[in-house]
Structures are given as C-alpha cells and as structure tokens.
Symmetry: C2
Subunit: 149 residues, 2 copies
C-alpha cells in the first residue's frame, strides 16, 4: 500500500498572532496532510458528491468520469483514514459498499466551499493576471530574439 503523505512538509502555524514558525520540524504538522487531502486530484470531487447523499463505489466511479478504479479506491481509503468519509459494507451478493461524509467531512466541506467561493469571486482577476503575465513574457522574449515580422 502506498502512502501519499510521506513527503509532507511542515506548514505550522499557531493562531493569528503566531504565524509562521518551525519550518524545519515537519513531522508533527497536520496542516500539510489535510492540505494534501484537500488538494488531491479526486478527493474534492468525492467530498462534493458525497455532500449531497451517500453513494456506492460504482456510483462514484461513474459520476466522477476519468477516475481509475484504483485511484478511487486509494482516494476513498485516505478519506476514510482521515475520518472524512465513512465506509459501510453490506454483506450481500453482489457486494454493496456505501460511502458517506462524516460530520467531520461535512465540516471540512464547509471550509472548502469558502475556498471555492473565493476562487469564483476572483477568477476574473486571476485571468487578467494571466493575460498580463503572458503578454509581458511575450514582450520579454521579443527583446531577446526580435523577429517582429
């Protein structure tokens, strides 16, 4: 079994008055771990989907489109280990496994949504910044090799 958290980095903060501390002690810091989970390629999708209702494995697989069965399993295991989703196995044939958000998961999703909201509110500015940066970079390149046809 692989572990995606091994290369975790220490972003350790206290409260607002004690921001950036202990950059070197990276072992005991949970922030990076949760961030990895949140930013995970598929975690976010899973959390958003499960926020609406509990879903079966194959339901998630179909809903997410593009996720491999392996990565969905790995993602769900991680989320389960972090206490964000719960896994319920029904001993029937064919097997049935339901996944749903725990209260902790719901709580996390609230915070995530604020980040999503922020992005939506600022994506104009970001797009503008991209355009500005790219044109600047293009102008820069012009100076180096001016073929300005």
């Amino acid at each position: 079994m692989e572990d995606g958290t091994s290369q975790a980095l220490g972003y350790c903060t206290g409260t607002e008055d004690d921001q950036v501390r202990q950059w070197d002690t990276r072992a005991d810091c949970e922030v990076r771990h949760i961030l990895d989970r949140v930013a995970d390629k598929w975690s976010l999708l899973v959390i958003a989907l499960l926020d609406r209702r509990a879903m079966r494995f194959s339901e998630l697989r179909r809903a997410i489109d593009g996720v491999s069965q392996r990565m969905l399993t790995v993602t769900l295991r991680h989320l389960e280990r972090d206490g964000i989703v719960s896994r319920t196995v029904y001993p029937v044939i064919p097997p049935r496994v339901d996944y749903e958000l725990t209260p902790l998961g719901v709580s996390l999703h609230e915070v995530i949504k604020s980040l999503v909201t922020w992005t939506e509110e600022h994506q104009q500015q970001i797009a503008a910044a991209h355009a500005a940066y790219d044109s600047r970079a293009a102008a820069e390149r012009e100076l180096v090799s001016p073929l300005h046809g």
Copy 2:
C-alpha cells in the same frame, strides 16, 4: 518552461444551490487551478512568509529551508502569473528582486488561514480517526493471517 497546471481537473461549482456540475468540462474551470496553487508544496510557505513583509529571493530561499532554487523560482513564477505575488526588479549590481503579496494574494491568504484554522481545530479528531483506522486495519489483517504471537 514547464507547466504544472496542464493536468487540471474540473471541479466546477456554481453557487450553493448549484453544486456539482460539469465534471467532464475540465478546461474552463479555475477552481482546480487555484487549488493546485494553494496545495503546491511550497506556495503556501511563500504566501505565509510574504504576508508579513516583502522579501528577496535569497531571503525566501533561506527562510523556507529545503526548497531548491529551481522550485522556488517555479513557485514564484506561478504565483506571479496568478497575480498572487508581485515581482520587483531593482537594476542594481548585484541584482535585487523583491517579492510581495498583491492585494489578491492577501485576500487569498485570508481564506487559506481559515483552512489552517480548521485543521488545527480538528487535528485531534483526525488523529483519532487515523488511530481507529489503523487498528481496524491491523485487526483485519489478523483475521487473514492469524499469527497472534
């Protein structure tokens, strides 16, 4: 020049009433992009540091400890392109380049801090979930190969 955003995935939401939509149209979605930026291994550190004051390249390099010069450059370029940090070059010898958070960057940091705060408030629960999961997994393995010595 490399681009870490090419494999972006579409986590597209509208407002609260229009949560999970268009999982397949992944091109026009900015959320994933920002998330990649936020979750980036070093971005967070840079943002947190620059929130206090403007800093030079080598200052950041020393402050962050563990970052390679290449990755710091790449990180800063990404953040600059997204309009999160600004880059100021002083045409002196030796060269001096200052980086600082833009208003957009400050705004983003506010949101990030809420995520950090959430993590701090719940890391007990997360740790408990880890312990529970691991012991369950261990018990599971016991059933398969019971060598219970």
